[in-house]
Every structure is written in structure tokens, then in C-alpha cells.
């Protein structure tokens, strides 16, 4: 890891330095009108080598999947295959323009179509769109579809959406953007949806106001809700739709098809289960799949078969475009390649190994940490970090860094105090899991015998714990030279 402080690009600037070369102007020049012309442009002036060194050195301050075990629960930090990068970088894709016309884009349209179909096959859905640019964007699209369906049936009273209290924050935020009010549903002692509370919420005068439920299964605790089919049935009986948040599909590809068990609309995160790289925060891509009678409402355009080829088409009652053009195509290429390489059996092995790795790690971690729900987990599990007086999950996370591991997800889901959510994924080997469990045990020990090691961690990184409070009180959000 590069521990040296790195100047800002502005601080490396010197007047007259040039980093890129462009051809000279080969046409007659037209002057820019003075009243429109910009006076000054304070951008850095840096030569190419300095730019390369700067960003190379910056990259060396990151932990990444390529360099470290990254067991972030719910994020599915699996290996991002290099062949995906190569294939996404082909000139035929990079220099493809979305408005060149269907006839000249058959390669791209074929890829989109086949990926739509493949993901439908995996999820048990009749139709889909790959327009969404991310998981949250897929959620927004899906909830708009739910809304459009109710509106098309003249059912304007349905303004409420049920959301389990273990849900990811994007779920209620999405509802607000779609004009819905959120009704939280508590979880039971086993970590699933509290069925009595669900029935109560679906009862009485409120029944006519429920648009549906947004459910994550496996849920954010890493547990498969055994009542999923009953939950779907109850919501359907009340006139609502079931939205599935597919963030945790890594546990069930080839094992379970959500579309076959009552999920009406669902999004997948291609940058989780389907191996596309996280890129330091994006770009992602969202698939949204639906049951047959919701297909007309999908965001578009989507790829369809036309004659012996493919075309773009807008579903007849589409909720509209959710972004310009056809989705994050460059990301779709990676997911397509991945699904092709895995195939039917590979997808099942993926989930089997993800779940086995998680259960194996859980058995080892349970020796030194309390796991909130001791029953069989799926691809991830939640432990608790309050293992010694004065020690919090944050301290354990920071100490893990000193041992060369990226910390798991912390303080989520909100219903577990001092939560540490661990998801190893199927691309990790047994030795890595053993090493991680050992380090966690060591840290538990340190927490009891030498807690300052945790409180002061990390000490092996370019910066220590940063004062986020001061940063938020007096925000400095750009360089002011």
C-alpha cells in the first residue's frame, strides 16, 4: 500500500505543462464572439508522465478485489473476470452510437436481447428490461411498473407500500420517489417477515390502500424467508403486487426462481451476482424482470426479435424511459460474457459454493462472535461486534484493515445492533476463509486483552480514522487554489 501523502492534481500543476496532444486545426478558424467567450479556465497543467504517476500512486492507496479479500455483506464482491474487460473494450462496442439505427446495431441488439432472455430464465420472469443503470434505478423502475399497473386498473387508492424493517434504505427512498408512503413491517425472532404483523397490516380499511410489498429474499440478514410463498399469496389476495429486491441473488441462481414463487417484479444488480466490476462506486446496471401481464409496462426501449434479427421497441404501456438510450450497454457486455461462461450448471454451482463458503465461515466465526441468527444462512450472515466492553463494530472493522482485509459491511441491517455482515462469495478459496476467521478470532482476543490496538486502528494505512464530523460541519468539497 502506498503510504506517502499524494498531492492533488492541482498541486502538481505548473504553467505551460501539456498532458495530451491533439492535431492542429486544419480548417479556417471562426472567432468566438467576445460576449460569449470565457475569460479564465482554472484547470491543472500537468504533463502525461506526471498524470500517470499521480493516478498510479493513488490507485496504490486502495484495497480492491484484485488485491484483498473484500467480504462486504450484500455487495457480492466476487472476482471480476478479466475477459469481461477485454470483451467490453472491443471497438465494435466502444465506438457504437445508440442512434445509428437497428439495421446497423444488430450485434448490440442481439446481446441485449439474449441477456434479457437469460436473466429472465434465471429469475423465472416472462419479460424484462435492461434500461436501468443501477440496482436502485431498477427498483425505481420496478416500483413505477407497480404503480402503472394499479393506475391502469383504475385503482388510485393504493398509495402504501409494505417494506420489512430489515430492508435496504433504497427501498423506502424509492417509494417516496414513486409517490408511495412506506409502511414498515417488523421482522420476527427468526429474522423473517413477522407474519402476524403482515396479516394485521393487510387487514381492515388499509387493505384497499396497499399497493404491494417490497421484499428481499434471501433477506438482508442472509436468511431465506421460508414464508415467501405465503407472503406473496397474502399480498396478492389483498390486491397488491410483490416486488423482489434481487440484491442477494448470488445465493439462489439455479437453486430457486423468485418468479416461480409469487414475485411479480424484480430487479437484479448486474454488478453483484453477475460479476461486473464495482469501479469504486459504479457504473452498475439493473435488470428488471416481470411476470407476463406486467410486460407492457416495462421501461424501454427493450430489444425484441424482428424477422431474422433484432429491433428496439417501446412496450405498449411503458412507464417510459428511465435513462437515455438503452441502459449501461458496456456493463451488459460483461454480464453477458459471464452468464455465457457459467451456463446453466455453472450458475447453480455459483450459488452452491457461495452458500457453502458462507456457512463454513459462519461456523468458524461463531466460535468468537455471536451470530445474531444461528440458523442456516445463505450467502451471507450477520455477526455482532459488541464482544468486549467499550468495543464497537467500527473498532473491529478498522483493526481488520491492519491485518490486510477489507472490513465487512458494518451497521447494516439496522435491526441488528453492532452488525457485521459477512459475505465471502464463491470466488474465494478455503485458505482465505480460514485466514479471515483466524484474524477475527485474534481481534476478539485483542479486544479483551489490548483494546487500544482496536481503538487506534488502522495504523498501517495512508491516513488513520478521519474526523468526519469536522468534515461535515465545514464541508470542503473542491480544491480552492
Amino acid at each position: 500500500m502506498n503510504l506517502m501523502p499524494e498531492k492533488l492534481i492541482y498541486e502538481l500543476s505548473a504553467p505551460g505543462r501539456i498532458g495530451a496532444s491533439l492535431p492542429d486545426n486544419d480548417v479556417p478558424a471562426t472567432p468566438v464572439p467576445a460576449n460569449l467567450s470565457r475569460d479564465s479556465l482554472k484547470l491543472p497543467e500537468v504533463d502525461e508522465l506526471s498524470v500517470i504517476r499521480h493516478f498510479t500512486r493513488l490507485s496504490q492507496k486502495n484495497f480492491s478485489i484484485d488485491s484483498h479479500f473484500y467480504p462486504l455483506g450484500s455487495c457480492t464482491m466476487k472476482y471480476n473476470p478479466k475477459v469481461n474487460e477485454q470483451l467490453a473494450g472491443l471497438r465494435g462496442w466502444r465506438d457504437a452510437h445508440p442512434l445509428i439505427g437497428d439495421e446497423f446495431s444488430q450485434g448490440a441488439l442481439e446481446l441485449i436481447y439474449r441477456l434479457q432472455e437469460s436473466l429472465c430464465a434465471i429469475g423465472g420472469f416472462a419479460a424484462s428490461s435492461l434500461q436501468p443503470a443501477a440496482g436502485a434505478h431498477g427498483e425505481l423502475s420496478g416500483v413505477f411498473v407497480v404503480r402503472a399497473w394499479h393506475v391502469s386498473r383504475g385503482d388510485a387508492k393504493r398509495t402504501k407500500m409494505l417494506i420489512p424493517d430489515s430492508a435496504h434504505g433504497t427501498n423506502p427512498a424509492t417509494c417516496t420517489m414513486a409517490g408511495y408512503t412506506t409502511l414498515p413491517v417488523p421482522s420476527d425472532a427468526e429474522g423473517g417477515v413477522d407474519m402476524a404483523a403482515l396479516k394485521a397490516a393487510l387487514g381492515g380499511a388499509q387493505r384497499e390502500e396497499i399497493a404491494g410489498i417490497m421484499i428481499t429474499n434471501p433477506n438482508t440478514l442472509g436468511l431465506f424467508d421460508r414464508n415467501i410463498e405465503e407472503i406473496a399469496r397474502l399480498v396478492h389476495e389483498a390486491g397488491g403486487l410483490v416486488y423482489g429486491d434481487g440484491a442477494n441473488m448470488n445465493a439462489v441462481t439455479g437453486i430457486f426462481k423468485p418468479g416461480n414463487s409469487g414475485i411479480d417484479v424484480m430487479h437484479f444488480n448486474l454488478h453483484k451476482t453477475f460479476s461486473t466490476p464495482h469501479g469504486g462506486g459504479g457504473p452498475g446496471a439493473g435488470f428488471v424482470g416481470v411476470r407476463k401481464d406486467l410486460a407492457d409496462f416495462l421501461p424501454g426501449p427493450i430489444a425484441v426479435k424482428k424477422g431474422s434479427g433484432y429491433a428496439l421497441a417501446m412496450p405498449s404501456k411503458s412507464i417510459g424511459r428511465v435513462k437515455s438510450f438503452y441502459g449501461n450497454f458496456g456493463v451488459l457486455v460483461r454480464a453477458f460474457a459471464y452468464v455465457r461462461m457459467l451456463g446453466a450448471t455453472g450458475l447453480r454451482r455459483l450459488a452452491e459454493n457461495a452458500v457453502l463458503n458462507a456457512n463454513y465461515l459462519k461456523v468458524k466465526v461463531e466460535k468468537s462472535y455471536k451470530v445474531k441468527y444461528p440458523r442456516r444462512c445463505m450467502h451471507e450472515f450477520v455477526a455482532m461486534g459488541d464482544i468486549a466492553p467499550g468495543i464497537h463494530t467500527l473498532d473491529i472493522a478498522k483493526r481488520l484493515i491492519d491485518y490486510g482485509f477489507h472490513p465487512p459491511t458494518i451497521y447494516f441491517p439496522l435491526i441488528v445492533p453492532e452488525a457485521i455482515m459477512i459475505e465471502p462469495t464463491e470466488t474465494e478459496d478455503k485458505e482465505t476463509l480460514d485466514a479471515f476467521a483466524e484474524v477475527l478470532a485474534k481481534i476478539a482476543d485483542e479486544a479483551r486483552t489490548n483494546p487500544d490496538l482496536l481503538h487506534n486502528a488502522p495504523t498501517t494505512t495512508p491516513v488513520g480514522r478521519l474526523d468526519e464530523v469536522a468534515a461535515a460541519r465545514s464541508p470542503v468539497l473542491c480544491f480552492k487554489g
Binding site: 462486504l72 471497438r91 465494435g92 462496442w93 445508440p98 417509494c175 428511465v322 451456463g343 457453502l356
Partner: protein, 445 residues
Amino acid sequence: MPFIANSDADRKAMLAAVGVSSIEELFTDIPSAKRFPKLALPEGISELEVTREIEAMAANNLNASSCAWFLGAGAYNHFIPAAVGAISSRGEFLTAYTPYQPEVSQGTLQAIFEYQSMAAELLGMEVVNASHYDGATALAEAVLMAWNHGGSRKKVFLPTALHPEYRDVIRTYFAAFDVQFVEYAGEPSSAAVDETTSCVVCAYPDFEGRVRDLKAGAEKAHAAGALFIVHADPIMCAILKSPGELGADIVTAEGQALGNAMNFGGPWLGMMGATAKLMRKMPGRIVGQAQDHEGRRGFVLTLTAREQHIRREKAVSNICSNQGLVMLQACVYMALMGKNGMRQVAELCWNKAHYAASEIAKLPGFKVPVLDKAAAGAFFKEFVVTTPIPAAAIVDKLSRASVVPGLALSKYDPKRTHELLVCVTEMNTKAQIDLLATSLKEAAK
């Protein structure tokens, strides 16, 4: 099995440790009738086979590297220096996650801070976020921002010359809300703003490449207590006055032009900036400067209380990602180009587009309204050409000859049959532009 690390022997040992005899036993929570369904997919293929398959598909796509390319309309063919990809393909950037643990993410965080800084300068805004999905969604969320800020003001003014797909996205985002969209033609100062207006949106340049008077538009909007939102071309901002300088409250832009390939429409880069006053109302991630206990400078995600993981149903937006890698590419591009390079790219686009427009205007039967005395105006990179025969026929004919002349506007408006939107960038040589002119002349015969 590809990408699965453990061997059968490993699995055997692990199953024993877990206390089950088979992997199937791990899935007893799944309803038995629904367990282990058959997937209607072919079996997996090797890396070599998938490479061949996808290369064949990619070859089946007409692309800008093999043509004289004059098609823009929201996706732009610009030069991308090799160093951009060299940096963004580094595994440490490519395979890192969102920087929630700042101590091990200073590379990503500092790059975002640098991007925010350069973008703020370019757009003329005090605060820029770490990006949205694309220009269209950034603009939609900017309008949402104004909408939430405006109390009971229900009117939103949109220019007729806004990219039609952007208009569609805004409408989708507002489907559940009681909004009144009003369209105005021409200058933003012509929008009939009043006390019911939450915001006026202006594109800079607009969909037809025309540069509008932002200052007058901003003044009029502000006088009525409304916000002025500008959607800008980031390359153009290198030589023309920035939207911030001219009075914009919120600026969005499509950052694809900054070092990112067209990629058939995505992934791209939604840029968004705002005044300091609106800072806490901005959706999306923002990075701020911070110090550790030893006084070392570092960078962190900040103002997170606005975001979905804390505010949940009260969050400004549900957005949970930024376009990380795409933003990094834009950052490296701006760093490489720098003050001089950005100006140079913009000037090349300006000069070449003006040259092309004047050459095409000379062709019998062709007109370029933005050069005509009556309808003249300033323009950047794109201009409309009225054609003597339907533009779609011209596009079809010329594309087959590897000269893609632009967008037939009938694509978005069936009534506009004889209009072609031509885009000229630094990628077009004089020879290509001359070829375009002769090709158009030939096609019209």
C-alpha cells in the same frame, strides 16, 4: 467450473465442518417443490469460445472507428487519450468498492475530490457531486431538486429544443407528482415565468446546437423566485462562459464527452453541480476533505445524512451509486487535457463545426438556418441542415458508404422530414468534412 476457487476436496472438508453431508442440505429452507429448477440456458463455454462469439457480435455493429462520423444528438465521438484507459483499467480502481472505509479507499476518494474540483471549475458551480447515472437522469433529479425546494410551486419550464429522450426521462420521474410542464421555444427569457414557477430549464447548447442567452434567462427566472437549471455540454464550457457564471442555480451535463466511449449509450456520466446554498439538497455522493488525528489530509464521503441509507423514505433521492469508473475516466481526461487541452478540443469542435456549416450552406438545395441572417445565432458542435430530399434517405444512403452524416430529425418528430442534425468534433478532419459536403450534394441529386 469457472471462477469457483474450491475443489471437491475443499468442499468435502467444508461440508464436514458445517455438519451436513451434501450441498443440497444447505437449501432446505427453499420450498421443496421449487428447489433446484432447471434453467433454460445452454451450458457454459470456455473463455476462448465466448471471446469468439462476442467478437463476432461486435463486428456486426457499424461503429465510428470505420466511418467519417457526423452523428451526435446526445452521444459524441471525441478523442480519448490512451492514458485514460491505462489508469481506469488498473485493478485497484476497477475492482474497488464504494469508498465507505476511507482509510483503504483514499485512491478512489481523492480521485473523486479532484473530479469534483475540475468539474466545478468547468461548470462554474461551487459544489459538484460524484455523479449520476447519465445526463438525462441528472437533469431529472435536478428538476426534482427544484421541485422539492419550491414549496407549492408546480410549474416547470422545459425548452422545446431539449433532447427528446431527456424530456421523456423527466416525465417518467415525475409520473407520481402533480407537476405542470410548460414548453417554451427559443430563448429561456421567453418563458412566461410567474410565482407558480419552480424552475426554468435551459440546454446549453440546446438539442439543435444553438447557444442561448443564459444570463437573461437566469435573471428572469430569479426575478420570479424560480430556480434556473442549465444542462450543458462540458467541452463547450471550456471556451464559452460557464453556466454558473451566467447565473445557473443547478447545472447538469453529460460527461460522456470527457474521456468516455459512446458504448452504444452507456455507461455514461451524469454531472451535477449546484450553488453552495443548495448543497444540502443535492442528491448523490459527495466527497469532502478531512483530517486524521495526526493532521494528515484525507478525503471522505460527506453530507451523507441526505442519502438513502440514513434518510430512507425521507432521502432526497434513492440513488446508491455513482458512475465511479466513468467519473474516473473523466477525471483523468480533464487532468491530461488540462487548461490548454480542454480549450484546444473545444476550439477544434467550434472551428470544424463552423467550417462544415458554411460548406454545407453553399450546397444547392441545402440550408443551414443558424447561419441565415434571419434565424442566425451562435452554435457549438451541432447544427440543423434543411435538406432538399428527406433526411432519412440521405442518412441511409451515406451510412452505407461509411459516411454517417448525422441524425434525421424525423426519428424524434415525424413531421421534421427534411432536417438533419449534423455534429462535428475534433475527430473530423477537413478531408472528412469536405467528403461530407460532396456526399450530401451527390445524395440530393
